[in-house]
Symmetry: C2
Subunit: 201 residues, 2 copies
DNA sequence: GTCTATAGGGTGATAGAC
DNA sequence: GTCTATCACCCTATAGAC
């Protein structure tokens, strides 16, 4: 009995390891073929299995996309947690955030497509996966608040600004910095705008 | 001989008409299934043909995407040609441009995906189709110049701002106006920034 | 847990009859 | 110009042997 319980622990670990391996292979293939081009047969081949064996580890292809989607937001969250927020220097803080966000998007086109566009016909994140993205967004909102940015329309304007820099960078100068290098100027423009007239009030 | 030449004229017209019909059906299907989900068999069914007959009108599926891509940029161009550019009112002009651009993107998700994202795995526009997009961009640049916007980095900042508003609107509030309504504020922020200190010089 | 086999579709593209 | 037939694949998912 003790032995069986012991091995089941080991098995659960192994299982998790295999799942991780499959997901890593899925990212590699998605990078190469686009997120919508991911195929289970090829994914199985990549990890040395036959396609049906994947169903031991994931319920469906949609479940794989779900895990990847949630992982993307967890990575974004971790990246943001590493950024320093200096309430005394909103421009510097936002410029650094913008660059980090563009770098994050540029580091994986497949991840960008999965997280921010609707590139997979017929798939959308499950409620569970979606909740991870909402939590990540909430975290960003909290950090913006520390910079004195708290009006909803100002937050929406900021996300649009960063999303725009990133999407232009990826679509029109992938691997370059034509839009990335505008981060500081964009941050100055934005901060000037949201703090405009604040001292008068 | 004269008769043959006459009929060949009619045939060329008919052919062009059929091509137009096929492209219209392609847009309908792409709207429904996503641009990457377009299938030639279904497209043929939609126009009452068998799939191989499409090859009489288009060399390949990529050629169909090419025509759609070029048509998208011609439509964008036509839309912009209808906008009034008032050099005395850059904020109003840009606010209207931004709204029009967001409306243009929102009017067809398939068109947006085809023109501005890389949603079709394995396809990119042919040089000819790409040239149409470059011409359209050049036209925008010329109109920005009439507003006194001529520094390349300012133009890039503006395209990022509009692209960001549109992509956030489509991804997070399709059919709504959560980001669209920020167009005027964004234009004010932007114009204040690019004209900052101009009088001093 | 992994396999083979297969269900039940789908895909773009081509050959050749009419 | 349109068709049928077909090539040579692709796909996700399931049943059931081992």
């Amino acid at each position: 009995m003790t032995a069986t319980a012991g091995t089941s622990h080991v098995r659960a670990r192994r299982r998790e390891q295999t799942r991780t391996e499959i997901l890593a292979a899925a990212w590699r293939l998605a990078e190469r073929d686009g997120i919508a081009g991911l195929s289970l047969r090829e994914l199985a081949r990549e990890v040395g299995m036959q396609a049906p064996s994947l169903y031991t580890y994931f319920e469906s292809k949609a479940a794989i996309y779900d895990e990847m989607f949630a992982a993307g937001y967890r990575e974004l969250d971790a990246m943001e947690a590493d950024l320093e927020v200096d309430p005394a220097d909103p421009v510097g803080t936002l410029a650094a955030s913008g660059e980090a966000f563009i770098d994050f998007c540029g580091a994986s086109l497949a991840r960008f497509q999965l997280m921010f566009t609707r590139a997979v016909p017929g798939w959308e994140p499950s409620p569970g996966a979606y909740a991870v993205s909402v939590a990540s967004y909430q975290r960003s909102v909290d950090e913006f608040a520390r910079l004195g940015i708290d009006e909803p329309r100002h937050i929406d304007l900021l996300t649009a600004l960063f999303a725009g820099l990133a999407s232009q960078q990826l679509a029109n100068d992938p691997g370059g910095d034509r839009w990335r290098r505008l981060s500081r100027e964009a941050a100055e423009m934005y901060v000037t705008h949201v703090t405009r007239g604040r001292r008068q009030r």
